[in-house]
Assembly symmetry: none
């Protein structure tokens, strides 16, 4: 399990890991029933304190993303329905905020469209080349 942790970010480490794992589950990169790494292993793997990972799993469990089998470990649960839609709306909001900032910096509708297209180009170029 590969998660980038930024110790200098304002977002606390445990939150970074929580959303990273949530996103893996929502993106079906972790499938229902799959076992999560042990607290200790993940802690070493990510270079953080085991307490931090324990907190992460506690939060994920309380929000219904994972189940615990005491003495054995944690398993991916079925994510709450509509959680994916909610996540997408958050992304929409984030996108809207960025667009508003660009607009504030005097970028025209056209210029913003151009920037967006350039980024999309970069993100999807691999697929196109492959086909």
């Amino acid at each position: 399990m590969k998660i980038k942790v930024d110790h200098h970010s304002d977002i606390p480490v445990y939150k970074q890991i929580v959303v990273a794992i949530k996103d893996m589950i929502l993106a079906n990169e972790l499938i229902e029933g799959e076992a999560l790494p042990s607290v200790r292993k993940l802690a070493i793997n990510l270079g953080v304190n085991p307490n931090t990972i324990a907190k992460v799993f506690f939060i994920l469990q309380s929000e219904g993303y994972v189940d615990s089998k005491p003495g054995i470990g944690y398993y991916v649960a079925k994510p709450p329905p509509s959680s994916i839609e909610k996540r997408l709306m958050d992304l929409d909001d984030a996108m809207r905020r960025i667009i508003l900032k660009m607009k504030r910096f005097a970028l025209s509708e056209e210029e913003i469209n151009k920037r967006f297209s350039a980024i999309m180009e970069g993100v999807f170029e691999n697929e196109r080349n492959r086909s």
Copy 2:
């Protein structure tokens, strides 16, 4: 000077204010040479401690966005050239990250385009109505 401060955000108050003022300068909403509100007044205005504002101005000054005349007040300085370009690149990066997340959640290129257009629609509808 109107700045929204969220005391419950992970981003510390002083940083929220720093970027808010930076963006006002970069967006030319504050123009070079203009006087900023005094530390104490802004502190009362935003409902934070004067020390917090002092820290904000200290950082803005060390980054070259404002200049202080001790005993008189703070003034908007000429922002380092290319700082606006750098800011726009940061926004591009943020947008790219959002797009990648959407893609990861199995949205197709087309679907992402649609979402983006819908947001742009919302942001620019006023202008279009006016014309």
Copy 3:
């Protein structure tokens, strides 16, 4: 870590400590990766408020001299290259200013040389005795 702090100097305490630590790093008396004393301990050690030390480390970090691992402590970073050269040029400038003052007080080139030699004598006498 021994730093002399003069509370009656015009130079603010936090700046005195900043340059003292910077110079230790530039002089390789603190080596890269070495842990610095904790904020609280150094504060007690130097007889100043923890906030003052926090400010010191904040500045040193923003200038790239140290790195923080929140919850663990501060560590000496690799100082920006050429920072030592810049420091030496500052010293040259200071020396030039002194020489100009002496000249202004009607000291001849010869007399200034003599004063300089006398000082050098005092500074390096130990070494010479040893050899």
Copy 4:
């Protein structure tokens, strides 16, 4: 009367002006009996507050560098004897401190001598060319 005032220095403006005028007197650039500019004129000239200049003159007078003729103005007095020697010892001290810093940054006696000579060269080259 030309004095450089640095509003961003840690040394308060009034002190900067005090030593500047003291040095002019010690260097005989202002001679005994000469009239000093009026408080208001000097304030405008240097771009500082008249109160600051008043304080400067007050200090200079209390240290015996100037006399006041109430209702008329300030005049250069005979500087306290040996004040010039004291000033030179201060300069020696400053020079010694610089040399010690250089030594700390691993410069050898030879290297320091070289730097000093280079600076002296620069300071005295005009004279030599003239002769």
